[in-house]
Point group: none
Amino acid sequence: MEGVDQVRTRPGGRSAQVRERVFAAVREALEQGETAALSIDELARRSGIHRTTIYRRWLSTEGLIADLLIALTPVETPLPDTGDLRRDLARVARRVVATLEAPISKTMLPLIAGTTDPRLAEAAAGYWSSLFAHTAEIVRRAQERGLATREVRPIDAVESLLAPIYLRVLVTRQPTSRAFIDNLVTRSARMLAPGPEEKA
Amino acid sequence: MEGVDQVRTRPGGRSAQVRERVFAAVREALEQGETAALSIDELARRSGIHRTTIYRRWLSTEGLIADLLIALTPVETPLPDTGDLRRDLARVARRVVATLEAPISKTMLPLIAGTTDPRLAEAAAGYWSSLFAHTAEIVRRAQERGLATREVRPIDAVESLLAPIYLRVLVTRQPTSRAFIDNLVTRSARMLAPGPEEKA
Amino acid sequence: MEGVDQVRTRPGGRSAQVRERVFAAVREALEQGETAALSIDELARRSGIHRTTIYRRWLSTEGLIADLLIALTPVETPLPDTGDLRRDLARVARRVVATLEAPISKTMLPLIAGTTDPRLAEAAAGYWSSLFAHTAEIVRRAQERGLATREVRPIDAVESLLAPIYLRVLVTRQPTSRAFIDNLVTRSARMLAPGPEEKA
Amino acid sequence: MEGVDQVRTRPGGRSAQVRERVFAAVREALEQGETAALSIDELARRSGIHRTTIYRRWLSTEGLIADLLIALTPVETPLPDTGDLRRDLARVARRVVATLEAPISKTMLPLIAGTTDPRLAEAAAGYWSSLFAHTAEIVRRAQERGLATREVRPIDAVESLLAPIYLRVLVTRQPTSRAFIDNLVTRSARMLAPGPEEKA
DNA sequence: GACTAAACGAGACGGTACGTCGAGTCTTTGT
DNA sequence: ACAAAGACTCGACGTACCGTCTCGTTTAGTC
């Protein structure tokens, strides 16, 4: 789980430091939303690491970001478990909104959406499958408690809950207001409502 | 409905022809998925229109695409109306999948997702709000027939139906298979299921 | 006779000035013998003209030097005509030595010797054929006066006179002393001595 | 007199093998006329010897070539001695032409002409002084037989004979045709023709 | 039908970034 | 302890596209 540069044979010392300094420059650029600062030239300038070194290790900006993304892969943050499915869903949805509105995501998402680099695409796919699978636990618990239908797979429910958020942020650029989230949770709750025969 | 080049004082003749030839080049590039061919230089080469002329009229690639996107705004295609909500939703979903999988969308979507150009963002927002509002008619009809709850706004139902498709195409790059669509429609149908008191 | 950029359509304007400033930088570098300063990057720095502009106009250092060389092509300097062939030859030889010992030649000759660029090779060939043809006049006059044999072509005589100078400067790096020149002239004089039957 | 790599402390072992493998790579590059293959990187690649090793032993490409040139210093090839000075001169001239036209010379000569490395310059100077001194024997014999004047030093005669060949190959890039050689020999013969008083 | 102003064609320029290559230095590793 | 391996800095290469500029040339619409 070392990222793309598997060949890292000399973990101690200069190489590791190079890696860190370049990553720092990338993070800085992402946080500031300065897409232009993600050019290799500019990253080299900011990190103090020479252009050719970056090329040698990562080949391209996208490889670099893929590598970084892997490091960012969501630590298994504890899920809300209030006993109330709606409340749990709302918390998760708000958390995702907060994440997507954060500068680093605002910058990164379009990059991921637009890339043709397989490494970056794969890293991103991994990120989301991991996030969704983890979050699905909420629905699974609700199913076990008889609070959610078993006719919808937990991971699909999560997809339906979160997809509209991504749509608004990435595509239609509509606001992700409080009211929108509430509405979204209501819809998910309806989708997950147990049928009459499941209530027993 | 003049597009971005409001300054167009001489609609007839050469100017119009210039506009068409450049648009044709843009469309061609989009269809071939050749992002590189969307550079002003390459468009100039392909269209036979001089670089400076393109700059004068559109200022940038994004302005150009915004202008084109406006022209592409969905003609009000007839909606399916089979009397069966599930079937109608499935048809719409499949149609959207087909559109998004088409080369021109595959190329354009990331551009839209990634742009910072307000004109392009606005043109895109207009495109989708128009598409969604139009499609919502299906749900509205179902509500009138008592086949769908009135507790979910038609436009929100459409959002929930289509958002996962965009998510998969743009972000997670999961397949948009037949099974996925079926599953999606099932979820939407559950969301729209009339409550017991609505059935009367 | 405008050098390589025959297309120069705007002689009075910026283009002409660009040309001059770059040439000045090249001349400066040649005179200082700083081969490294003949890199496009360094010439751009010194001339204040942008790298890409130089590439556009000359494609490479060698094209540039070829262009410059054409401009340097020997103005038809007056030839010595003392009535004494030996003395005339000596003067020409010394003049060539002086030219070759000048910093600009010292830098340029190896470039010409080493180039694979056809334009530079051609420009150089032109330079020398012109120089030799011009110088041959001395021998021609001597022939007319009966002071030199007609069995050696004037241009060959010049070649034999001057070639050892080039050999020493370029290849063997032996000194081109006064004594060497005298010796050289003696040899040429012997080569050109009229046969008994020509003396009449 | 082992060349530049004075550091060679272990003549029989690995060091000697390294030397040979690198030399082989240099020779190969010279013969193929691939100047680019004379870079340290490429030589390392071809020879299988590590870059740093080459740096340690020779410091630069030029040192390496100087070292090699010393090894190539002309074995004392037997001189023609037909009793006919003209014929002998012609044979020598043709042999030199053949040498210079050989790929290895074509590649090496410009390097020598252009170098600023004193070791390489010295090695080259040694090569030519040895070649010329050796060849001068032809003229010396002719003098002893009364077939050539004593007023021209043998080594100078050789210089006059061969210099035009170098001039054409290196500088003016004129052809070194059969006719040219004949003409050249004629001129040298005239230069060496004994005076009336020497004929006795 | 000639005139005028907008639009277009042409092409040079300065500028940023690209990705690559070779030179030469310095560090880590293995023996 | 030392040489091999290799990661690093540095700078040049040649190219692509950007956006700007100055000219000169159509051409559309008007008087």
